[in-house]
Assembly symmetry: C2
DNA sequence: TCTATTTAGGATATTAGTATCTTTAAATCT
DNA sequence: AGATTTAAAGATACTAATATCCTAAATAGA
């Protein structure tokens, strides 16, 4: 609920792509299958990520999506801003149109530090870091682990690529 | 965005009612006017708060809504749970259906403490505390301060009631 | 050049959240 | 009893988020 479903899909997908070998475009269809999210919807989201400069896309056979050069350094805040616009950190907890240090809602003072922590966390988590965590096998980005997604048994995560990227 | 608009309206309204003298029922219409929120919608929300045991309601002339006995101790988490159901603290940031210490998304470990802080804050903020803060004049629960809402000049906040409640 | 594959883009459908309206029931006052 | 005031309840409308579908454009390979 803090992140929209669309943001969640976007983040999951980008982490997934970041765990895949560079130079081998990822198909929207494959990503959707791996993550268990609606394929047509994910395709739309990936379009946005391309237009937003995080992904590169290629059409036709052997096409698909790859991380744009340098995009491993993208942090989660940037992704959320691209998908949802600002607002996560910009708006008042209680919904006031104006709520600043000068004139505030009664939650303002205590909410501020929490908001800052959220911001900091989202900013320090990059695709690179998260992809390494997932590739280690200790964490997952989908409810089903890779082995149980049909047709994924061959596709083993390329940890080498990840390590060389950090 | 962390709280739904409905939750925000509910909280604003409850704080407003908590700043009003006990025993003088607050009209849905008046609360909506004071807070600048849609009257018909707010009426529905107040119905939920009544059914949820936070407000008492009375029909007919001199009717309206009052805080149920003891409801000044209600905290924001209880209100949000009533309006939105759990989920705020119950769900994974990245949207995984299962994400626990045992099997987690890559954000889990770092998100956990922030979630706890949010939970703690919402739990320690009671209507009573927030009403006192608002009654002090240092904080507001609506974009327009009370003096500028038409027909509100007579209705002065009853700070005595608040103090005796704490 | 033809066909197959894949993303791009636009149109449409579905669902949940937000909001309004109308009717009914309860209470008060005359 | 009748009129007025207020919340309760149900129906309906609007909007944004989520999701699907279809056609077009690009690319690769035969």
């Amino acid at each position: 609920m803090i992140l929209s479903r669309t943001s969640q899909y976007a983040i999951q997908t980008l982490i997934y792509i970041a765990t895949q070998p560079r130079g081998e475009p990822v198909l929207a269809r494959k990503a959707a299958e791996r993550l268990g999210v609606p394929p047509a919807y994910l395709a739309k989201i990936m379009q946005v990520l391309s237009r937003g400069g995080i992904l590169d896309s290629f059409r036709g056979p052997s096409g698909g999506f790859v991380l744009k050069a340098g995009a491993e350094k993208t942090n989660l805040m940037e992704i959320v801003n691209l998908i949802e616009g600002p607002g996560l950190v910009g708006t008042c907890v209680l919904g006031l149109k104006v709520c600043s240090d000068a004139t505030a809602c009664p939650m303002h003072a205590k909410w501020q530090p929490i908001k800052m922590n959220v911001l900091k966390l989202l900013q320090e988590q990059t695709l690179e870091k998260l992809a390494v965590a997932v590739a280690s096998g200790l964490y997952r980005i989908a409810d089903l682990p890779a082995q149980f997604v049909s047709g994924e048994s061959e596709n083993v995560v390329n940890v080498v690529t990840l390590n060389s990227a950090s």
